[in-house]
């Protein structure tokens, strides 16, 4: 099933749109200023930083008239997909391309907008446009239509494991020969209800220490993946070498990227946080929360950051010092992310292994 060639990446987040914007944010070349939302909770009012993503760059690729019925969720997903495809200049038209779209919460803002139409105007005047776009696979439908992808299409949701399961499904489709290419992406959007839940869950936390959390974010990450072809030039971003499920600690011998603890609206216990800190104290870490906020699928931007690190030989935005550091010579990076919903020991998480050389797997 693995390794898979990573041919193109399309990230969209508070940092901007595309790999150049992500690298600029990782290098601290651009300053991310989150929007501040006033959140009213049972415990009082709070100012919560929100890391919004902007879908306006989509207008460079698609006429606004074609976008008029799309909600923000589908627009961000479509932008991520367009950027990933543009990154590779590959034609995805036809049945040999598969499409996988995953999300922890789906188009929640649109679901609530549909409920607005029910509550404000009555059942008989519920909005069909809002309902259509609230369905989980609406974004996949818009992407498939835009690129004329007639291969298999899969939308899935599996909490913080959503991207892991999407990548495993992509690998399976490619290995079985069902398709030649998979466009695979993760997308989640902020809405006021999520902000309320985020703040309320953090109010419930009895931890005396401040959480290393910035605020909720939103964004999309799309990858264009294929199997390795013999004698083909190396892919632009290396290889997704393998995925390990339920690993209870990051590997000790390799640098790794950790998107940070406490990335969702549920928090890891202090003991869990300490376990992670102890096991990682001699390793390099970066925290992407500062540039994209906390996402319900916390691994969303790990792969993009790891691929950038490997291709540029540069480690950005160190977790501890927040400054650029030269990366030690490495051909393989492991991204390990503890599951935020697990509150008890042993702490487990999923590992993504990214490498520059498909045949060089020192972690195996």
């Amino acid at each position: 099933m693995f390794p898979l060639a990573i041919n193109g990446i399309g990230p969209v987040g508070a940092f901007g749109a595309g790999m150049a914007d992500l690298k600029a944010a990782l290098s601290n070349d651009i300053k991310i200023t989150p929007e501040i939302a006033r959140i009213q909770t049972q415990a009082g009012d709070y100012d919560l930083p929100i890391f919004r993503a902007d879908s306006k760059p989509l207008a460079e690729f698609i006429k606004p008239r074609k976008l008029r019925r799309l909600d923000n969720f589908s627009r961000l997903a479509l932008l991520g997909a367009v950027l990933a495809v543009k990154d590779t200049a590959t034609d995805l038209t036809g049945p040999q391309t598969g499409l996988i779209v995953t999300s922890a919460h789906g188009a929640s803002a649109t679901t609530f907008a549909f409920l607005d139409s029910v509550i404000d105007d009555g059942d008989a005047l519920a909005s069909p446009t809002m309902f259509s776009n609230s369905v989980h696979n609406a974004a996949a439908s818009h992407i498939a239509e835009h690129f004329a992808i007639t291969g298999p299409t899969l939308s899935l949701t599996q909490g913080s494991d959503s991207l892991t399961m999407a990548l495993l499904s992509a690998g399976q489709w490619l290995e079985s020969g069902r398709v030649d290419t998979v466009l695979c992406g993760v997308i989640d959007c902020y809405c006021d209800v999520l902000g309320y839940c985020w703040q309320s869950y953090h109010n419930q936390s009895k931890s005396p220490k401040p959480k290393p959390v910035s605020g909720p974010g939103e964004g999309a990450l799309f990858l264009q993946l294929s199997q390795i072809e013999e004698n083909a030039p190396p892919p632009k971003y290396g290889y997704l070498d393998r995925i390990e499920l339920n690993r209870n600690a990051p590997p000790a011998a390799l640098p790794f990227i950790n998107t940070g603890i406490d990335c969702s609206n549920q928090s890891i216990s202090e003991s869990g946080l300490q376990t992670v800190s102890d096991s990682c104290k001699n390793q390099l870490q970066i925290n992407l929360n500062r540039i994209c906020g906390g996402l319900p699928v916390p691994t969303s931007f790990d792969l993009a950051a790891a691929a950038s690190l490997l291709s540029d030989k540069h480690l950005y935005n160190r977790y501890d010092r927040q400054k650029t550091t030269a990366v030690p010579t490495t051909e393989t990076i492991c991204c390990w992310q503890p599951r935020p919903e697990i509150r008890q020991k042993p702490l487990t998480g999923n590992c993504y292994w990214i490498t520059n050389h498909a045949d060089l797997n020192p972690g195996k």
Partner: protein, 407 residues
């Protein structure tokens, strides 16, 4: 590679157990009615196919999840028992030593849409988080895995109305690829006020009992239910028979012969007029099963009773399978959305074993625009392969070919 279907559990408006539900398909009674658990405010009353009252109606400390997950657990429990992998009380110990995956399709079960919570929030109250906790703890695949202590991959498919079919196809692939020894695969969905209002807003709900493929059809009736299939590798199936875990099968055994999936890439809510994606999916499924169209004994069609779906589907069936009998079971179950493909695959297995297929409930008059009619009375058939297919919102088309071993 042959992937066995070693157990089935299912429940729907036809019955709270699978045997009752199958028997109901062959009877001439169906009683869609206004929803019992919630009210709608429309000038017309829209009937639905709701489960009979049961202990599944309300969450409790033993099953604190959303209704969709409670239905999935009930179906999974019945499927494990049917397969011999569990007793009345619990899964047998050996199951926890195997790689058992869970793949479940849903639509409602993946949505954060608690209406009362949102009404309170919108009114600037500060609602308690219990509905959100429940939603976060109710991912159907994760719940089933947790209840039965299964440690394989977990995946919840949200491909709208083809979710159940897709989940079974993915589970089959997990076994073929050697990722799992067993997979609990299927679909589950509950009736929900939000979804009912959504389908009515799209003007594809009928205020009368639905009439799939009929000239007078005027939309669907929503339903609810769940079906889970125990999929099993040939190796495990042989091993457990040798070790005496299961009794010798008393009836011919069914298997997943092939699957196919393709996207219309055409429109968010309407199928491609010529059924581009459906044709691709069907051809992929036939190729995967390594059989030809004339080996299909019958077709359990999607048949929602919406104008567009039945026209597109009927034309493709007429063109690709002109002599193969077909029917829709939605006249008995309603459209159970993410559960539909799984329920229909389960029914297909039961019909292959019974060697008999039911009348297409609600159909009386052929639509000249389709010029192809489903069967109007129960009948027997020849052959060992059957097709179950789903067309979905978003342009998804998925098909399963199910086979039966020769006696």
């Amino acid at each position: 590679m042959k992937v066995r279907i070693s157990g089935i559990g299912g429940l729907c408006a036809c019955g709270l157990d699978f045997e009752t539900a199958v028997a109901a398909l062959f009877q001439d009674r169906r009683n869609p009615a206004p929803a019992r658990r919630f009210k709608l405010d429309h000038p017309l009353s829209y009937p639905v196919f709701e489960l009979p009252s049961s202990s599944l109606d309300e969450p409790d400390k033993n099953q604190p999840w959303l209704r969709t997950s409670r239905l999935a657990v009930a179906a999974a429990r019945a499927a494990l028992k049917d397969s011999g992998w569990s007793t009345n009380h619990a899964p047998i110990t050996k199951l926890s030593r195997l790689r058992v995956g869970v793949c479940i399709g849903t639509t409602v079960g993946g949505n954060m849409n608690d209406e009362q919570f949102y009404r309170d929030f919108k009114n600037h109250e500060t609602p308690g988080l219990q509905p959100i906790d429940r939603y976060l703890q109710s991912n159907p695949a994760a719940v089933v895995a947790k209840v039965f202590n299964l440690c394989g991959p977990q995946l919840t498919v949200v491909n709208a109305c083809s979710s159940g079919t897709d989940a079974i196809a993915i589970g089959t692939e997990w076994i073929r690829a050697g990722i799992c020894d067993l997979v609990l695969a299927g679909g589950s969905d509950e009736l929900c006020r939000v979804t009912c209002n959504g389908f009515i807003s799209l003007m594809i709900s009928d205020n009368l009992p639905c009439r799939p493929f009929d000239e007078s059809r005027s939309g669907l009736n929503l339903g609810e239910g769940a079906a889970i299939l125990v999929l099993e590798s040939e190796k495990i199936y042989q091993q457990r028979q040798l070790s005496g875990i299961n009794i010798e099968p008393t009836s011919p055994q069914a298997f997943i012969a092939g699957s196919g999936s393709a996207c219309d890439a055409w429109h968010l809510t309407a199928p491609h007029p010529q059924g581009r994606g459906l044709r691709l999916a069907l051809n992929n499924a036939l190729a995967d099963a390594e059989i030809s169209a004339d080996q299909i004994a019958f077709i359990n069609a999607h048949g929602t009773a919406t104008s567009n779906n039945d026209l597109c589907e009927g034309l493709v069936l007429k063109d690709m399978f002109p002599l193969v009998p077909f029917f829709s079971t939605k006249g008995h179950t309603g459209h159970t959305l993410g559960a539909a493909g799984a329920l229909e695959a389960a029914f297909t297995v039961a019909m292959l074993k019974k060697r008999k297929i039911p009348q297409s409930a609600g159909f009386t008059k052929i639509d000249p625009a389709i010029d192809h009619a489903p069967i109007t009375s129960a009948q027997t058939f020849n052959g060992n392969f059957a097709l179950s297919q789903s067309l979905a919102f978003g342009g998804n088309n998925s098909a399963l070919i199910i086979g039966l071993e020769e006696d």
